[in-house]
Symmetry: C2
Amino acid sequence: MFSEKHKAAGVAYPQGFKAAGVRAGIKKSGNLDVALIYTEKVAVVAGVFTQNQVAAAPVHVSKVVVGTGLAHAVVANAGCANACTGEQGLHDAEKMAEIAAQELNCRADDVIVASTGVIGVNLDMAKMEAGIKNAVKELSKDGSVNAGNAIITTDTYSKACATELEIGGKEVRLGAIAKGSGMIMPNMATMLCFITTDVDIDQKLLQEALSEITEISFNMLTVDGDTSTNDMVVVLANGAAGNVKITEKNADYVKFYAALKEMCIELAKRIAADGEGATKFITINVHGAKNFADAKKVGMAVANSLLVKTSLFGEDSNWGRVICAVGYSGVKINPDKVTIKYGGIPVYANGIGVKFNAEDMKKILSAKDIIIDIELENGAANATIWTCDTSFLYIKINADYTT
Amino acid sequence: MFSEKHKAAGVAYPQGFKAAGVRAGIKKSGNLDVALIYTEKVAVVAGVFTQNQVAAAPVHVSKVVVGTGLAHAVVANAGCANACTGEQGLHDAEKMAEIAAQELNCRADDVIVASTGVIGVNLDMAKMEAGIKNAVKELSKDGSVNAGNAIITTDTYSKACATELEIGGKEVRLGAIAKGSGMIMPNMATMLCFITTDVDIDQKLLQEALSEITEISFNMLTVDGDTSTNDMVVVLANGAAGNVKITEKNADYVKFYAALKEMCIELAKRIAADGEGATKFITINVHGAKNFADAKKVGMAVANSLLVKTSLFGEDSNWGRVICAVGYSGVKINPDKVTIKYGGIPVYANGIGVKFNAEDMKKILSAKDIIIDIELENGAANATIWTCDTSFLYIKINADYTT
């Protein structure tokens, strides 16, 4: 498990970063709902965004910011997605950046904007303006917890990470806040995740690293198979660590890449574990596929099977639903060669069920973390998918979300 | 709506057909669980089967029967799927046919076999043998209701239909029993559906008609996105009506085709309406797609979105989830050209929400039947998908199915 030591410092853990989270009245609950992350020195920025063709206004605006390669701040709100809001929505997203830029004395096109919440509702810009101004006043090294809480919706807790590594004698730090919960099935990027680091790195290398890592972290996660309109993962690197700037794929790059990868995988797992209504964290390891794409396809078919997810909620060893999903995944398999294990215990092999000890299985299925291994014997490629079960609470949360 | 007049006669409505449903002790509940359909005169047979690569033993056996082109009987059980049961499973499925054939004095390779229920459990063949023998004794013109009840699992009621048409001065009858409920997302065929008719028709034409009609009836239906291991639709035509045999695509063929199509669509709708835990029957009409495949893809993305299905359970007009699913469906669309209507009321157009009267919407959403129209403005192709909402009861049913 990832170190929890600097978790509270979060996105303000790297040098030169501050954060804040305030109440602006966007969430009906009155909870924290506007987050701000600021770097004193302008940072290089990398981002990956939802591939949903119905992308929210802030996604369009932030893509332009990432395109410039530089960012000074991130301003985000929960409670309203600013998606399907037309021209007004685009204008409002740009205005969010402008208000922040004016208060922070930076360029508006250096401000990443993000929103999450209900689709089809316009932002209350009077509230947003007051919220952003207030957040600027609140910026501090202790502000990450509030910032993290200000971006969550139905999440039961804010996902935060912080870590450090040594590069060329200098301490390099990374921090992150993320939210997930529902409408989670990544395609290129998912949910909101803001990562800060004081590493000095070339922007193109940072983008390349983030794009690659997203494929094996956030894109291996599913809660409910729905790819959201608002998702983004953004990394700001301000160079304050003072390391020799990473401009090629040298040993320093490899070290930083490993740390960023570890953090993204950790966040992806936490988002799966805190999926809407989740009572179980499910890891699905697919082995022996012809290639990675096949392995992922099989794993995602199982992870998105409502029948598999409800059986795990019921702590029921219904492996028939797992092999059924493998069978319709679209990947060519030989059912007689497939082996399925629950928590290391074989339940299916050679085309039929394998007898197992009921007491042992009960222990496996009553745990919070459940691992399902699927061996295809088709090749040498593997993939790991993270997901959760589907419970009564998922239905309750989503049966009355807007009303 | 389809006529309910001869519903109880069901598969025994056409001339020369009899049916029975008996208790064999395969279902834990002790309910009816072995069904038998018999035609005095051997019938031509057509069938479509699950495309799941993990197909159950009876699917393999029945494919061979359909391959011969002739059938004399259908024997089916609920409570045990005889799937993932290896060599023993195949042997048991063949044995079901042999027992029936011996009792009915027909060829074993003229007996269609089908099973539905829990995966990975072997059939109790002593119980099956007694059940089949008992069913043969019970065969009658009044046996369809019992046969229908003997093939249901978590269905709340048995789906049955019967109708007649006139072909060349002769009355031609059709009857059907079907079961659906969970693990329902057709691919080529779905669930169990047995259709009988006394029409005299060439086997190849019957197969062609069934394959075509399946694409626009059963294959347009989803309950939970899971394609089962056991599904089949089988039509037996015994020629007892005495019509001039249909051997080409003439006016008689067109008439029969229309009646078969109407019946299959009606059964598909009923299966959707009685999806596991369903409180709503949802019709999703996709208009203006480039081609049928695109229209179906968009409709299936919406119909399989757990977020859409739970919002409809909650009677919540959360159209944001519908446009979100359209956006990730994989079909190229322009979000600004899409229009979405709930019960005829526009809720989304020109990239933004459309204001609607809350009282009118409440009426639409509180009804049992809800129609969602999605206009893509991409072309002239349409598709209609039938599904249901996802409720607490779905979770309850599926959290403890095997235990």
